[in-house]
Symmetry: C2
Subunit: 216 residues, 2 copies
């Protein structure tokens, strides 16, 4: 595997490739031509080849891709052959939502606890997970070998919570708070701004409406 930095656009397409490969596996498909894969997934065959060439190819001339083989390669590239241990920061509406969501998470991602500052919530349970005292975060991360912190606190606390998670030694942060945060270079950061997505949806709805009035 090359050690060159792969662009985020490529990385963000891999999970999508993987979803389609899993669907194909379920249907019992063993191999697929890059042309068929392309029309299924909606990227050009050349885009797919280019993306996968970042990791050394995998297709065979005149054969196409082995569905399971390619899915396994993508699993290895994404690091899905390991287990990840996670904590949820914040037991408010957002933390409750993500704790609930975590029940439908792909295998390999396991929530080990929820952390809160509000004393009255500490020691209670959220969907079967214990709510711990934020003061004990650093010890917990170390003892339980936590890899990922999921930030579900309000915007004013998000950076401080991220700082403490990084200090405690997590390797990745999944940020749901409605504010951009910064992490040191040795920590990975992925941001989910659900309200940004909803705002984009509102835009597209209005754009379609405007076009249908202006157009034709």
């Amino acid at each position: 595997m090359k050690n060159a930095k792969i662009s985020n656009a490529v990385i963000n397409r891999l999970p999508r490739y993987r979803r389609y490969l899993i669907e194909l596996e379920k249907k019992g498909v063993e191999k697929i031509s890059s042309k068929d894969f392309s029309s299924l997934i909606g990227y050009t065959a050349s885009q797919i080849r280019q993306d996968l060439n970042n990791f050394g190819g995998f297709g065979q001339q005149g054969y196409g891709y082995s569905v399971t083989g390619l899915r396994e390669e993508i699993d290895a590239i994404l690091g899905l052959d390991k287990e990840y241990r996670m904590v949820i920061m914040g037991a408010g509406n957002l933390g409750q939502a993500i704790t609930k969501y975590a029940k439908s998470l792909p295998a390999g991602f396991r929530v080990c606890g929820v952390f809160e500052v509000r004393k009255e919530l500490i020691g209670t349970e959220l969907d079967g997970l214990e709510i711990h005292d934020y003061e004990n975060l650093v010890d917990f991360v170390e003892r339980e070998k936590i890899d990922i912190g999921i930030i579900c606190v309000n915007r004013d606390s998000a950076q401080e919570v991220a700082d403490r998670l990084c200090f405690a030694g997590v390797k990745g942060i999944w940020n749901f708070a409605r504010v951009d945060i910064e992490v040191p270079p040795h920590v990975a950061l992925e941001v989910v701004q659900l309200s940004d997505s909803l705002h984009a949806l509102a835009y597209h709805m209005n754009d379609i409406k405007k076009r249908s009035h202006h157009g034709k």
Copy 2:
């Protein structure tokens, strides 16, 4: 306002501009130079100018941007000056998570009901919202003037649920199901694949680790 199609990349940056402008408004900042806005948000000043020029500009030479003025313009572009009425499709783990999340949604987006096929859940409540019979979706969407359907069903049902929502007359679909769906051109579609984001996080964590072993 021009009637040319604006690229998705630009649309997806607008909610982010808006978040920063709201933070500035809270701090009482009235105007900001494109240079200061640029260093705050992390895009180049030229990128920001280019993005906003799609909608006719808004900055004044030698003055910069009016914070509230620009935020209001973006609200109008995104269509956030209206109210959107939404339904959540599916009361499983994902539907429960999104219903919970909806409590922290920005103003203007209102969930009016949850829909299910499982008879034992119909008529019960989820976080204060009534769970309705999927069979009554079309009537409900029409009567309650529903704009957006939020798909939280499993992958096998997602397309059928999308089809029925579109038939019922929603103008937008927010898809959380772990499968790609298709909608007719007069319906807007936004997709949130939370597990894709988590997979990208796993990749970046492993990439950082690999680099720190190889590098130096």
